[in-house]
């Protein structure tokens, strides 16, 4: 089939409908010449964008700007321009200034000064603070502390319980239905959450941001592109008053300073996707549990931000797997040719000792930084007005500084920005010219609103032009999340990102600042781009993501990593995957190589936890009568086969997946035998359950979380785990008033809603 050239151009420019697109793609698949032509057109388009973006942007004459800003109502456009131009004549200055002042005062109110050099910086510390602080509905009270917990675990390593079996074996087919994602019943609590979603999400509470050394003054030194733009759209008190949900609970707790000052003005536009806890499943009906790994850690930094501002995070901001995966665990390094190793441990579930907790740990091969292939990085920075905040652009600049310092002469960096317009502020520059790169970073300023679509094209174009075969080719997007590409272009954007990922340019998304965070959208973008999403709230976090994990954040060592567990109904009465709610896959997706999944970076560890109900423990599925004819195989104590774990992954450049399979065994270990890392992961998961007010939190308590954390503190080179303890304390204080004693009878094995 032949394709008309004009339509081919339209195709390259994303101007064809789905049907035509499919037809053209079919033709492309069959015709290498046509493909070459498409590639050439794409390259030319990229060059044009680069060249045109580099054209200087003229500056609008300030006098005309003023005329435009005040509108035709004041004097008429010409009049004001002319009046302003008189200012050049010294004699007339006093008169003119008085006149202008008067006019301005009468027409616009006193906040506009005739001197355009005066910049109104919307620093949240400023005075007008008639703001009611809103705290998200308190998470359900924690059960009483110190509830029947096994003794502290002893330290020491526990041998892995993995027996590698049939690597490369074909997975079996089953005739079961895909595991339903819906929970069996909607707990009462969810009703509130739905309301909370319908209204702006429960908000972090506005908090005067402590002035960070030097940052604020730096900010004020940044000349705004337009002094009024940033005070609109960001501007605080007005928007906050109108958007605060009426009757929203206001919590003022002594001991927690509830600031009277105004907070982040954009806070109520944060968007989180709804999370429903994975329910317990019956292996007789759903023997297979399939999910994609998740190496994102953004939720942890985001939760920390809430807690540090003395607010409990909204439950949907708490993605438990991201909390758990924020931390590094000492899983064994891979020794074979596989890019990662798998480590499994089973022990009592701390919050429900009669249940078992299965921990799967994956460790990606560590790359020495010398061994790291050359990097071709294009930073795409959001410099819209909303980025004009100490937590945002200045932090972006300082964070990227850290990264730039890690680069070698064979690496390249380019910087593109987007706001109302997009442009290339630094063409691709070798890492050895650090000073040039840093200068370009320092010159950045915020102003204007966001139009990400053009910017991301530009960034990909630059990355394409300097593509390093076999190297790290990556666009690093830093934004506060207002990634506005216009209503019609959302699909186009995701397609663009996917296409680029297919041709080996990946996307990392770094979230900055608060109040405007389109969390779900940013995570999705990173996923589409085979990359990671991290939330950066401070320089320390930037160091963790960009420096310590440089290899990991930048280098994918395996992609589309999927896990599938088949549980043995004879040993497991019920199982529940903790977290990973938005990573659950249909069982068919496991063997389907076209289905995308998570990427594993060099040195990364990924942890997944399952809560298992052993067959001998009583358990009833909510809303389902006990099955009468399905055999419940009784099984003895001691070692038994819990099931099989299968992993699929692709090499970073590959398109076919390999398969690994392991048998899972439970040796019946008790709490004292658990490893410090196991305890720590369980602590973080328990913390997540508490923050989410999960119906599965059972006997979790802040006290218990602290106890579980302790043994793991021995290995805490960067102090992350100690910091976690601090957050636990904060959350506990915020979760006051004291919990109502938990009436759950101890012998009962059913997980009840919220432990009441």
């Amino acid at each position: 089939m032949s394709v008309e050239k004009e339509r081919l151009t339209a195709y390259v420019l994303d101007e064809v409908e789905a049907t035509e697109r499919a037809a053209i793609e079919a033709a492309l698949a069959a015709d290498p010449e046509l493909r070459a032509e498409v590639e050439e057109l794409r390259l030319l388009g990229g060059e044009l964008r680069t060249v045109l973006a580099a054209e200087p942007e003229p500056i609008f004459d300030p006098k005309r700007r003023q005329a435009v800003e005040h509108g035709p109502a004041t004097l008429g456009s010409r009049g004001l321009t002319y009046l302003a131009s008189w200012l050049r004549w010294p004699v007339l200055v006093p008169v003119a200034v008085c006149g202008l002042l008067l006019i301005v005062f009468l027409s616009r109110g006193p906040e506009i000064t005739p001197d355009s050099k005066v910049v109104e910086t919307p620093v949240p510390d400023s005075a007008e603070a008639e703001v009611v602080a809103v705290v998200p509905p308190p998470v359900e009270a924690a059960p009483e502390p110190g509830r029947a917990q096994p003794t502290a675990p002893r330290t020491g390593t526990v041998p892995t319980e993995v027996a590698a079996t049939t690597a490369g074996a074909e997975a079996e087919r089953t005739g079961f239905q895909p595991p339903p994602v819906e929970p069996t019943a909607m707990p009462v609590q969810q009703a509130d959450q739905l309301v909370a979603l319908a209204t702006p999400p429960p908000t972090p509470l506005p908090q005067p941001r402590p002035k960070r050394d030097g940052v604020l003054s730096h900010l004020q030194g940044v000349a705004l592109f337009d002094e009024t733009s940033s005070s609109f759209g960001g501007a605080g008190p007005l928007m906050m008053r109108t958007l605060t949900p009426p009757g929203a609970p206001v919590m003022a707790d002594e001991g927690i300073s509830l600031p009277g000052a105004q907070g982040d003005p954009n806070f109520n536009t944060e968007a989180y996707d709804r999370i429903r806890d994975n329910p317990f499943k019956d292996p007789r009906q759903d023997p297979l549990s399939t999910f994609s790994i998740d190496v994102d850690t953004a939720a942890y930094a985001n939760v920390r931000r809430f807690l540090e501002r003395s607010a409990l995070p909204p439950p949907d901001a708490v993605r438990i797997e991201e909390l758990v995966n924020y931390f590094d665990y000492a899983y064994p390094e891979p020794t074979g040719k596989e890019p990662f190793a798998v480590d499994v441990e089973v022990n009592q579930a701390p919050w429900k000792p009669e249940h078992r907790l299965l921990r799967i740990g994956i460790k990606g091969r560590t790359m020495k930084s010398q061994a790291r292939p050359a990097a071709n990085l294009v930073f795409l920075l959001d410099v819209s007005g909303s980025m004009n905040h100490p937590d945002k652009l200045p932090l972006v600049q300082r964070s990227l500084r850290l990264l730039v310092e890690q680069l070698g002469p064979s690496d390249r960096v380019a910087i593109a920005v987007y706001a109302g317009s997009s442009g290339l502020v630094l063409p691709s520059t070798p890492g050895s010219e650090g000073a040039t790169i840093l200068q370009a970073l320092d010159r950045l300023q915020a102003g204007g609103s966001t139009n990400g679509g053009q910017g991301i094209r530009l960034a990909y174009d630059v990355a394409r032009q300097h593509f390093v075969p076999g190297g790290i080719n990556r666009v690093v997007l830093a934004t506060d999340g207002d990634f506005n590409v216009g209503v019609t272009n959302r699909g186009e954007l995701t397609r663009l990102i996917e296409d680029q990922a297919k041709s080996k340019i990946f996307l990392t998304v770094l979230g900055f600042g608060s109040g405007n965070l389109k969390d779900a959208q940013m995570e999705e973008l990173a996923d589409r781009g085979n990359g990671q999403y991290a939330y950066i709230d401070r320089l320390q976090e930037a160091r963790k993501v960009l420096v310590e994990q440089l290899g990991g954040t930048l280098q994918t060592i395996a992609k589309d990593v999927k896990l599938q567990l088949e549980f043995n109904p004879a040993a497991v009465k019920a199982y529940r995957l903790i977290g990973y709610e938005n990573r659950v896959l249909a069982k068919e997706d496991f063997n389907d190589d076209t289905k995308d999944a998570g990427e594993l970076g060099a040195g990364h560890t990924v942890t997944a936890l399952y809560e298992l109900v052993p067959s001998e423990v009583a358990f009833e599925f909510k809303g389902v009568d006990p099955l009468k004819y399905q055999q419940t195989a009784p099984s003895g104590k001691g070692t038994m086969e819990l099931g099989t774990l299968k992993l699929r992954y692709k090499e970073p450049e590959g398109s076919r997946s390999g398969l690994l399979a392991f048998t899972l065994r439970d040796k019946g270990r008790k709490a004292p035998e658990r490893s410090p890392d196991f305890a720590f992961a369980a602590a973080v998961a328990g913390f997540g359950l508490l923050l989410r007010g999960s119906e599965y939190k059972a006997g979790s308590s802040y006290t218990q979380v602290r106890e579980l954390t302790t043994p793991g503190l021995a290995r805490d080179p960067h102090g992350y785990r100690r910091e976690f303890l601090g957050l636990v304390d904060r959350a506990e204080r915020l979760a006051l008033p004291p919990p109502i004693p938990d009436p759950l009878p101890t012998g009962e094995a059913e997980p009840t809603g919220g432990g009441r």
């Binding site: 101007e15 050439e40 973006a53 200087p56 007005l238």
Partner: protein, 171 residues
Amino acid sequence: MSETKGDFVRVCLADHGSHLLRYARRLTGDPERAQDAVQETFLALWRADHEGLRPRILPWLLAVCRNKALDRNKKERPMVALQEGSAPSVEVSPQDGALAREREWRVRTALDALPERQQEVVVLKFQNGLSYREIAEVTGLSVSNVGFQLHVALKTLRERLAEDKTAGGAA
């Protein structure tokens, strides 16, 4: 959300002011006239129904700006040059980026040699990121004509740049 018209105009100015100036300058070939055209465009925005415009503000601004710029060209003197500021400033150094820079210069030169109409659609597409439909809205061409003009422009550019290739491609 109560956003006043003034707020809206100021946001548009911040977002798109420099776009419009760049575009107007290309059309008028004169910085001063470009400034005038942009000023008039935003004053027209004050008079317009901003709620209705919100979703398609950039094409609207560009269209108005285009009319204002072309009006000025008619009234005052004929267009001097479609594009200025693209004076060949190639420092040919044996450095790493030299080849790439030379290539960029070639792209720019080839672009400037295109017929005005084609230049304009290329700029609207690749500098302002408009869709065919939006370009049609701005220029008054039909959507299919926009597609045709862009196709021809890209074809010509490819041919011209391929001719240069004897001098050595880049990047």
